[in-house]
């Protein structure tokens, strides 16, 4: 039970803190808006970032970051979205089997002949625990090793992501309509953070699946994009902080202090640092300055991402990734996309119009993504039914030990 009264004072204190920082935030936002104009006019900025060589955003070639674009007129299109969910293994139940559920939503507006207008489906995958799961060095030879030996191999999030990517790749072939299809992913285009935390074969497998998905969508000329709601990214702001260096217009590169501190001190730089005025600002606050709330469906210019991982692991130098921000009505959303999409005007227009149309009908979030989520989500009642079914099947198979742990029994039927 949650005692809200115990944290009420702390909540009020938090609100006071937010109010106090508001004025500083407003000043920073205005400064950021002004710096977009300066950075947009700096011809040497892209070259300077490339020379700097670090993973960060840079102006896309021959693109003016000061520009914004209205949504193109919506034509007929097909949108595909996938999402994943899971029933985690519960060792308090009779058997720690678990379930990955990948869901999809496909909508066609003006469907081609013979194609359905919508598809909502899910693919559950039952996963029993592997008996030869690898144990850590510390666990080998201990009494706990026997319990770990029946534990889940790999992390649940990895398996879920794997199922989503495989499902998305299949859907490209099954449901893609030439010249009018868009594939939306929930979250970043590539799950960089998850991949960089992984080691061993799991990392390689995920990178391979992402690569196959990106390449397949390129072959089929299906724009692929990641949609991020309430993004906390600071890449665009970092680029503007880069452009604040006094040495840049004259030398075409950062001063030594900025070279050392730009990427290290994102939120609390030294007070005299060139890039200090914009520290702490987020990309969506910047985009808010360019995209008025009344400019529903408008987007910013694409900003390219300089990323060693993308170049080495995904495209092998055959193209970059980038992002833009979209006024989705209810909020500013971030959309990540590969270079081959934004360099093809027809695909870019299709992606922009489709995402905006989906956000418009979905009240600020793409309807295809929210329906894919609904198709994938496993609710409490479904989870309980899953465990009951396992118990029944094992009992019917004369599996003697179909008892719950005492903890599971107490949760199922709490006593007064």
């Amino acid at each position: 039970m949650l005692d809200l009264e115990a944290v009420l004072d702390a909540m009020h204190g938090l609100a006071d803190e937010v109010r106090g920082s508001r004025e500083e935030t407003l000043r920073r936002r205005e400064r950021g808006r002004a710096q977009i104009e300066v950075a947009g006019a700096l011809d040497c900025l892209r070259g300077a970032v490339q020379k700097f060589g670090e993973d960060m955003a840079l102006p896309a070639a021959q693109r003016d970051m000061r520009r914004t674009y209205p949504p193109p007129a919506v034509g007929h299109y097909t949108v595909i979205a996938t999402d994943g969910s899971q029933v985690a293994p519960d060792y308090h139940h009779v058997a720690p089997w678990y379930l990955i559920n990948a869901g999809c939503a496909v909508f066609r507006y003006g469907p081609p002949p013979g194609r359905s207008r919508s598809r909502l489906s899910s693919e559950p995958i039952l996963k029993p625990p592997q008996r030869n799961a690898q144990t850590t060095r510390d666990e080998e030879g201990t009494a706990d090793a026997r319990a770990v030996a029946v534990s889940v191999s790999g992390r649940l999030e990895v398996e879920r992501l794997r199922a989503e990517l495989e499902y998305a790749a299949r859907l490209l072939d099954e449901e893609g309509d030439p010249g009018r299809t868009v594939l939306l992913l929930d979250g970043p285009l590539i799950q960089w953070r998850m991949i960089s935390d992984l080691r061993g074969p799991e990392k390689g497998e995920l990178v391979r699946l992402f690569k196959e998905l990106v390449y397949r969508s390129r072959e089929l000329r299906i724009p692929i994009a990641g949609f991020i709601s309430r993004s906390r990214a600071v890449e665009w702001v970092t680029l503007l902080r880069f452009s604040l260096c006094d040495d840049l217009p004259t030398t075409g590169r950062l001063c030594p202090a900025c070279q050392r501190g730009l990427l290290r001190f994102n939120t609390e730089p030294p007070a005299d640092a060139h890039h200090a005025p914009l520290a702490g600002l987020r990309d969506i606050e910047l985009a808010n300055q360019l995209l008025d709330r009344s400019q529903r469906g408008w987007r910013t210019e694409v900003i390219e991402l300089q990323s060693k991982m993308w170049d080495q692991e995904i495209t092998e130098g055959a193209g970059a990734a980038g992002f833009f921000y979209l006024q989705a009505g209810a909020e500013i959303a971030r959309v990540e996309l590969p270079q081959w999409v934004w360099e093809d005007q027809a695909q870019m227009d299709l992606l922009h119009s489709a995402i905006w149309d989906q956000c418009d009908v979905g009240h600020g979030y793409p309807m295809a993504l929210s329906e894919a989520h609904e198709a994938a989500v496993v609710r409490g009642a479904d989870r309980d039914a899953f465990y009951l079914l396992i118990e029944r099947i094992l009992r019917d198979s004369d599996f003697a030990e179909t008892n719950l742990s005492a903890k599971a029994r107490s949760k199922r039927r709490p006593l007064a």
Binding site: R117, E374, R379
Partner: protein
């Protein structure tokens, strides 16, 4: 056999809940339907007492989108997959072959049986006695007057000119002896020229009939009964002055 309307998704001895095959494809309130379970040999007859359309998933919330009719279905092509129309049926009888009886069936229909519109012969069979009216007066949370009128109109349409309206009316009068207002409402609405959609103008506010003295003359069923051994007393409606 006519096309089925839906599938039984809940069943007990008195009521059925049926999910329609087609969104908004429910039969009319008060109409007769038949549930048929393959292989059982028994048909179950009932009257539609409620029609509803709602999301299939109880977690979904229906909200206004502000889109004109037609545009919503275009922009949300999956809407038909998210919503379903259901209707409730009050069982009033059952039958096997040509034999039909207005009574509670010994066992209710199985789940997933299909439901059809009852044919005129089936309706005539199950309403040949007025006993079909009793369960309809026991349905809770339904406007009883509307239900009885709807059912009797449906039955009347099946019978044609030979419909035993008077028999039904007399039976209803005993059933609703403690609810005169409902009875009056039903009988007024069943009067000739009235119906769910009638070509004759509805008699909503007919002028009161007056006797030779210009006083209010009550309707015939309010005429005083003759008193044995004496002349009928003068009747004066105490409300005539209002």
């Amino acid at each position: 056999m006519s096309e089925s309307l839906g599938e039984v998704i809940a069943s007990d001895s008195q009521t059925l809940q049926v999910e329609c095959h087609q969104l908004y494809g429910a039969p009319a309130f008060g109409s007769f339907v038949r549930a048929e379970c393959l292989g059982s040999g028994t048909q179950f007859y009932g009257v539609v007492t409620r029609v509803a359309t709602a999301p299939v998933d109880g977690n979904r919330v229906v909200q206004a989108h502000g889109m004109p009719p037609g545009e919503l279905e275009q922009r949300k092509p999956h809407l038909v997959d998210l919503l379903r129309t259901t209707f409730e049926v009050r069982l009033v009888g059952y039958g096997q072959g040509e034999a039909r009886v207005a009574a509670t069936p010994p066992t209710p229909p199985r789940l997933h049986c299909f439901v059809y519109r009852a044919t005129p012969e089936e309706v005539s069979g199950v309403t040949s006695t007025p006993a079909f009216l009793r369960p309809l007066t026991q349905v809770m949370d339904v406007p009883m007057e509307d239900l009885l009128v709807g059912a009797m109109h449906s039955a009347q349409a099946a019978w044609g000119p030979m419909a035993p309206l008077v028999t039904w009316g007399k039976f209803l009068a005993r059933l609703l002896r403690n609810d005169y207002l409902t009875l009056e409402g039903v009988l007024q609405r069943l009067s000739p020229g009235t119906g769910p959609i009638s070509s004759a103008p509805p008699r909503i506010s007919a002028p009161p009939k007056l006797n030779g003295n210009g006083n209010y003359r009550p309707p015939i069923y309010e005429e005083p009964l003759p008193i044995v051994g004496g002349a009928p007393r003068e009747h004066r409606d105490p409300f005539a002055d209002f």
